[in-house]
């Protein structure tokens, strides 16, 4: 076994760390308060090549491996996971989906602009009545010969406003149930698409989340991804990789809280000594450290499996489940280490705690991950 990073992976991690420490952290509190999309950072991260970083160079991407991507998301999320999730959806769901399953024409038209970040992607799967249960899609894509006609509503859509390219999962043949689902590439400016107001969320507030309504939206037939009826499988495949991104994000949130808690325990005194000299705090830090490292190892392993062409679906579910749950526990304990200060926005840990909660919910709740994992364990 080799636990060493390559020189390139270290360089990418450092680049992400430098950007997060120099730039993201500067306005993160204000953006969180005002729920503002981080346009300035999106622009800078495009220029640095983090949008499309895993896309092959022949399509204009960075050609970096999944582990480098995980290290980047971890570093960004230590300071601002809302910006990290914009990258996560763009890279692991949309760009990956088009690169892996798109036709040559779709790649020419969409992957090139996704790879450079010129256009941002969003993934539209959840519906008001189909969140965890993605087999029952109510949004329809009626087959009209040369095009599909989309009608319906998608919910909880990350990047709905800041994206230009949507991948929309629709029911094209209701009688075939989940075998009648297709994923379509849709330009956001197609007539008939409208956005509900920005959801006023508990955390990740500067990542935009909306419901998206489709009313007689015409999408050319050639925008379907894969063969007819591939949509459900496509969505599940995309989410397998997406979970690695969310695990990395949860890991970063946890690491950010851990680093801050350690630092604070070395500065704050109570009863005449530093609080880390009290066993109550020292043991808390030990428990947090173990969970963090275990989450890190699961997440890196899922990335490693993907990079080595091995099956990674179960491991990515394990990583996402454990990293998200650990992030929730570690951030809650970090607030406790800070005491009253932890409950105040200025010290960041309460924000990290709010952000951690979402990692247990989106791209498959912790409960859904347990279904995925247990099914895999019980197979055969």
């Amino acid at each position: 076994m080799n636990f060493e990073f390559t020189e390139e992976q270290q360089m990418i991690r450092q680049a992400a760390r430098d950007y997060a420490e120099r730039e993201l952290v500067k306005d993160v509190l204000e953006r969180d308060e005002k729920a503002e999309i981080p346009w300035k950072h999106i622009k800078a991260l495009k220029e640095l090549g983090f949008f499309g970083m895993m896309v092959a160079p022949e399509w204009g991407g960075g050609g970096m491996d999944t582990l480098s991507y995980v290290l980047s998301l971890e570093e960004f999320s230590k300071h601002d996971s809302a910006t990290a999730v914009i990258l996560s959806v763009h890279n692991s769901l949309v760009s990956w989906g088009v690169e892996k399953y798109g036709t040559q024409e779709q790649k020419e038209k969409y992957l090139r602009v996704l790879a450079t970040g010129e256009k941002i992607g969003a993934f539209l799967l959840s519906e008001p009545e189909a969140g965890s249960d993605a087999t029952h899609q109510r949004t329809t894509g009626e087959d009209k010969g040369d095009h599909f006609l989309i009608n319906g509503t998608k919910n909880w859509i990350t990047n709905a406003e800041c994206a230009d390219i949507y991948i929309v999962v629709v029911q094209t043949h209701p009688e075939k149930k989940h075998h009648g689902i297709n994923a379509l590439i849709v330009d956001k400016n197609t007539p008939g698409i409208s956005l509900a107001p920005h959801e006023d969320k508990m955390g990740m507030r500067s990542s935009d989340t909306h419901s998206v309504m489709f009313s007689d939206v015409k999408v050319p037939k050639e925008n379907r991804i894969g063969d007819d009826g591939f949509g459900f499988k496509f969505a599940m495949k995309a989410l397998e990789g997406g979970r690695i991104g969310i695990a990395a994000q949860a890991l970063g949130i946890a690491a950010g809280a851990m680093e801050r808690a350690i630092q604070y325990s070395k500065e704050r005194k109570a009863f005449g000594k530093f609080i880390h000299d009290h066993q109550a705090i020292a043991f808390k830090l030990a428990d947090m450290g173990v969970k963090l490292e275990a989450a890190r190892n699961l997440t890196y392993k899922a990335a490693w499996l993907k990079d080595n062409g091995l099956s990674y679906g179960t491991m990515s579910a394990m990583a996402k489940l454990f990293a998200a749950d650990s992030a929730m526990e570690i951030t809650t304990e970090a607030v406790q280490v800070y005491g009253g200060y932890g409950y105040v926005k200025e010290y960041h840990v309460e924000r990290l705690m709010r952000e951690a909660k979402l990692t247990q919910i989106y791209e498959g709740t912790s409960e859904i991950q347990k279904i995925v994992i247990s099914r895999a364990l019980l197979k055969d």
């Binding site: 390139e8 360089m11 680049a15 090549g49 970083m53 960075g62």
Partner: protein, 249 residues
């Protein structure tokens, strides 16, 4: 026109410093190495000048005197945007040793502008730039905080006591740069990191040179004295502590 940026490979500024061999050698175990911060800013400015030169500056090279272990630092410079890198294959002994190695290379491979950081963040000698210009018999300008180009003319600003000084010069010359030369170092882009794989990194053998100095021993600064808090109301206690304990008044 060609610019050369001299790069020192130094421990990360947050490194916990330890010594071995009876406190005569720096303990490099577990140390994270980085581009010397002044050199990184010099490289950033060199790249800005190249980008704004309309093709007049055709190449930015970086050079380092060091063992193979320093190559990641040079590759980072390539990822940031340098066009090629040269490593003189020798363990640096002292400033004269390094300056001599650089000078030998530069006699055979001349550059128009040579940039050195004002000091390296490890030994803080502030010697290599000055020595290099002397060994090459070239003019040098120290404490440079700004470099701009106006056609063939180069305009340099120096921070001096109570003000600043503006100088005009022509190439070739050595500039020893400091704070202000660039706002902040560039973060390498994914494309830059990818391109760095393919950019040339030439390894040159060292020339015979003897170091002029050797390290007799290192000593860590004394640990910070403990901070004692005195209530703002209690001025008498403060005076007494300053007088009897700190013995400063």
């Amino acid at each position: 026109m060609k610019i050369l940026v001299c790069i020192s490979n130094v421990p990360d500024t947050t490194t916990k410093i330890r010594f071995t061999d009876n406190d005569t050698k720096f303990d490099a175990a577990g140390v994270q190495w980085i581009i010397n911060p002044w050199d990184e800013l010099a490289l950033t400015r060199a790249l800005e000048l190249k980008e704004g030169s309309g093709g007049a500056i055709e190449k930015i090279s970086v050079i380092n005197v060091g063992s193979k272990d320093t190559e990641p630092t040079l590759r980072k410079a390539l990822a940031i945007g340098a066009d090629d890198a040269i490593r003189i294959d020798a363990e640096p002994q002292d400033a004269y040793f390094v300056a001599s190695q650089l000078a030998e290379y530069l006699k055979a491979n001349p550059f128009d502008i040579m940039l050195c950081g004002i000091d390296s963040s490890d030994y803080n000698g502030s010697l290599v730039g000055g020595m290099l210009s002397e060994l090459l018999d070239l003019p040098s300008v120290s404490s440079v905080s700004k470099i701009n180009m106006d056609g063939e003319n180069i305009i340099l600003n120096r921070e001096i006591d109570g003000g600043s000084e503006t100088l005009e010069t022509t190439v070739p010359f050595v500039a020893i740069v400091q704070k202000g030369i660039a706002l902040e170092p560039r973060i390498p882009s994914m494309r830059g990191i990818m391109m760095a794989r393919k950019k040339p990194l030439e390894v040159k053998p060292a020339v015979e040179t003897e170091a002029l100095t050797e390290f007799a021993g290192f000593e860590l600064p004394p640990p910070k004295a403990k901070c004692k808090m005195v209530d703002a109301e209690n001025v008498n206690e403060l005076v007494e502590l300053l007088h009897n304990e700190a013995k400063v008044i």
